[in-house]
Symmetry: C2
Subunit: 213 residues, 2 copies
Amino acid sequence: MRIPKHIGIIPDGNRRWAVKNGMTKDKGYALGINPGLILFKQCKKYGIEEITFYGFTVDNTKRPNEQKLAFTEACINSVQLLTKEDCEILVMGNTKSTSFPKDLIPFTKRRTFGKGGMKVNFLINYGWEWDLNELKSADEKKKNIYNNIHSNDISRIDLIIRWGGRRRLSGFLPVQSVYSDFYVVDDFWPDFKPEHLDEALNWYNEQDVTLGG
Amino acid sequence: MRIPKHIGIIPDGNRRWAVKNGMTKDKGYALGINPGLILFKQCKKYGIEEITFYGFTVDNTKRPNEQKLAFTEACINSVQLLTKEDCEILVMGNTKSTSFPKDLIPFTKRRTFGKGGMKVNFLINYGWEWDLNELKSADEKKKNIYNNIHSNDISRIDLIIRWGGRRRLSGFLPVQSVYSDFYVVDDFWPDFKPEHLDEALNWYNEQDVTLGG
């Protein structure tokens, strides 16, 4: 079976899940923490080398304050949970804004926990414009794009899985995702089941890889 | 009904269509010209303001020569066909390479044909890296990305439709597609039917627009 090296995770649908279950929207985020840990362990078992979670974006911080507090806390808790596992964590986002949680500053350079081995990236207060704007300070003669964006320590993504039914990237790493296969799960992220990943991997296995060729 | 302002078209599957129909791969491209004209007229009727066709990329030019000749000719013919319609044509791509067809140089600034009215863009010898590399010569203080890429005369895309079953962007305008809804038609492009566009528009009508918010 052809296993992707790097999977992007868009864990969407937390708010819709909360409303469906009779809660206020902000209550959905906490329910998204445990699915992330289960998914991490499953990816590790399958030999996937790198995963990137779409935490929250600069755009997202314009939402009502109770939601902003809730998704920020869920992201901090998710990162801290993974420090107890064998992995190499990187948090990527605009640290120059007050929306960036101070608790995550120590993770903005990749750090190894336990025996390391699998790279786990979290996009936190990430903005696609912020990421690409870094190109403006690059040497014009150097043609490589990957090396000159903020997110240069995050590799090309083979497979992106989005929960919550929407078929769009919503600004998720525009450079690393140019050739990614895109799989959509209709269930909301808090309803994550290991079968979702299995279905996505089975589908991915049937795709070819052309890298635009 | 909520109609997208700008639709991106990825007309994939020409080669697979040819093989399925007992021809050599290069023969599929010519069969993709007429579908483009039908789609254009249909979009015009529906009041869509702008469409962008993914012609060929810098990556594609590495294919066998007979294929390269065939898709280049199909693109030239497609542009020339549209000069007989009411529209505003722009051809966008790297003109500094020998792979860029000389016949299309006159279209690299937007020109109005007939009564004009609908913008039609063709990506010809387009490369996502070429497009983004233009940012390196931009003023660092100007934060806007759209205005500083090569394809700055192509607007944000609301809906991308890809024929041929693959669920990936393959380098299609990474900046304009960050918030696009992405619809995939399993049929190959030469098997285009107007119903495909109708299905995509019906699906689009059910999506919400958040622009990352």
